[in-house]
Amino acid sequence: MSSASAPKSPPASRFVFDQRRLVLFAVRYGLFLALGVWVVAMSFASEHFLTWLNVLNVARQAAPIVVIAVGMTFVMATAGIDLSVGSLVALVSVLVVTFFNLGLPTYVVLPAVLLVGLLAGLANGSFVRLGLPPFVVTLAMLTTLRGIAFVVSDGYATPVKDEFVLWLGRGQIGQLHTPIVLAVIVAIGGWVILSKTRFGLYALAVGGREEAARAMGINVGRVKLAVYGGVGMLAALGGIVLTGRLGNGSPNAGIMLELDVIAATVLGGTSLFGGVATIAGTVAGALFINFVRNGLNLLGVNPFWVQVATGLILLLAVLLNTVVNRRVSEWARVGKADEQEPETSP
């Protein structure tokens, strides 16, 4: 740690300080601003964009991503990543129909696939806990789980007839689609756990500086196991919702879904290096990606270009998340030191 202890320059003026705050604010809440700007611009460009129907449609599209990204936020808080969530969605999707075809009732099938999700996550977590890089562990799991999904289904998509699963994917509670309600519940739960409980704090501490967390008596291994188990279970829930929405269990479900989930989380300001995470940001990130996609579709842009746009957004998000963020906080830190040094001298 460098200490800027001797005041080298006179304290910054109020004006400079306020300017710093403004820039910090813009970087911190840039995504929310961008989302707002996009929504306003698009509502001029297309009369269909800002309709209740379209907004609900976008939210419904975003819902499974939100559900899984809440789990990803915790994983990334610990400086980890989980690339296997898309494949887990496929496996769950296939298992749902397989279990129903065995004649099992809904109240057995759904807990069973949630358990599969949990176990897959715990498997990831156990390897990460051993010190293997999360990127590689979950990349291996990405191909393993997708492979199992193909083996189990023999490569075929099979229709789902269960009313409850269909309701989870397509139904409504009052005016709202069921997936939206589920996503809201998961997001609120995630926000409470992240910002108000020990577990959330420990996830951030582990990601911020693992040795310090360990020195303070935090069971680092258990925290890691729990965040991967959690995202596994949420990926299973997302998989159930997607299965209901598509109306079939398919080994091709959730292809590249991990990218949307990670993009949403990173866009939302959760640090790729751990220690910093927000659920509100993640939700806004998921909405942003889906509003951009939806807007481009409404404008009649070629879907292949939409895919390119999604990739560029992810790249931009990572750029903001790493280089720009670091530069800006260093710059702001110098400003703070100017402010505080006079207090530390006797």
Partner: protein, 260 residues
């Protein structure tokens, strides 16, 4: 029975072929400030990590209030009132000042909300704690990475004293600090002493020891070379013991030291 707060008897510790400590004995009274000095690799950090539960000794025993005890983890030592401020502070840069002070020992609400963090109480206590030590730190919700090295040291010291510590061990608390920050740390040590807390300071800076400690203990190559009441010595004599590895007042009786 001794009435020392802590007594370490004939402690030995090796790391593979490296003998870090050979039969070191060390005692400390309540409210006493002891400076532990010596060259690099003399074994200072190892001795104190054993006392704070980070390492277990190969042999020897530790008595707390005259009772033998085993600290098999830093948590066990902390539960007994022994805290260590690590050389690198062991703070999480992304977490706030208050979060770092209470990390691992958060306060929770009572009753129905007992699973939730009591942020307000923690923040009030953190402020109070820092004031009591005479330290100045930015508001408790500032992330630690945004504060200066001296302020980080202040946070680490505040954390070590947050839970009724009886002994606070500081490993090089003034390394890499500005003159003003060093003054603050020394002042904080004085405040701890006046609250009846014992302090061990490991320091390269002999002035730190002369200014704050009651007693200085000199280690060299894993052995205690000698000790002095600070009122009764000066930097020249301590420096001589560190370099020569022997106690000049005893050298006549013991013959030349092996390490000379």
């Amino acid at each position: 029975m001794s009435d020392h707060l802590v007594e370490m008897r004939l402690i030995s510790k090796s790391f593979g072929a490296v003998v870090a400590l050979r039969q070191v004995s060390f005692a400390l009274d309540a409210g006493e400030v002891v400076g532990l000095v010596g060259d690099n690799a003399a074994g200072k950090s190892t001795l104190m990590k054993i006392l704070s539960g980070a390492y277990t000794p190969d042999s020897g025993e530790i008595l707390l209030d005259g009772h033998p005890c085993h600290f098999d983890s830093p948590m066990a030592a902390r539960a007994a009132g022994i805290e260590m401020v690590y050389q690198d502070f062991a703070l999480v840069p992304e977490l706030s000042v208050t979060q770092n002070i209470f990390l691992g020992r958060e306060l929770l609400h009572r009753g129905l909300r007992s699973r939730f963090l009591d942020k307000r109480t923690m923040s009030e206590r953190a402020t109070h704690l820092i004031e009591r030590l005479g330290l100045r730190v930015p508001p408790g919700d500032t992330p630690v990475r945004a504060i200066s090295g001296g302020q980080q040291q202040a946070v680490a010291i505040a954390r070590a004293t947050a839970f009724d510590a009886r002994l606070v061990i500081m490993d090089e608390p003034t390394a890499n600090l500005s003159a003003a920050a060093i003054g603050k740390v020394r002042e904080a040590i004085g405040n701890l002493k006046s609250h009846g807390v014992a302090v061990v300071i490991i320091s390269h800076r002999i002035e730190d020891i002369l200014e704050t400690a009651d007693r200085a203990v000199v280690l060299k190559r894993g052995q205690v070379v000698g000790e002095r009441r600070v009122a009764d010595t000066g930097s020249d004599e301590i420096l001589h013991m560190i370099v020569a590895g022997q106690d000049p007042r005893r050298a006549a009786n013991n013959g030349p030291s092996k390490s000379a």
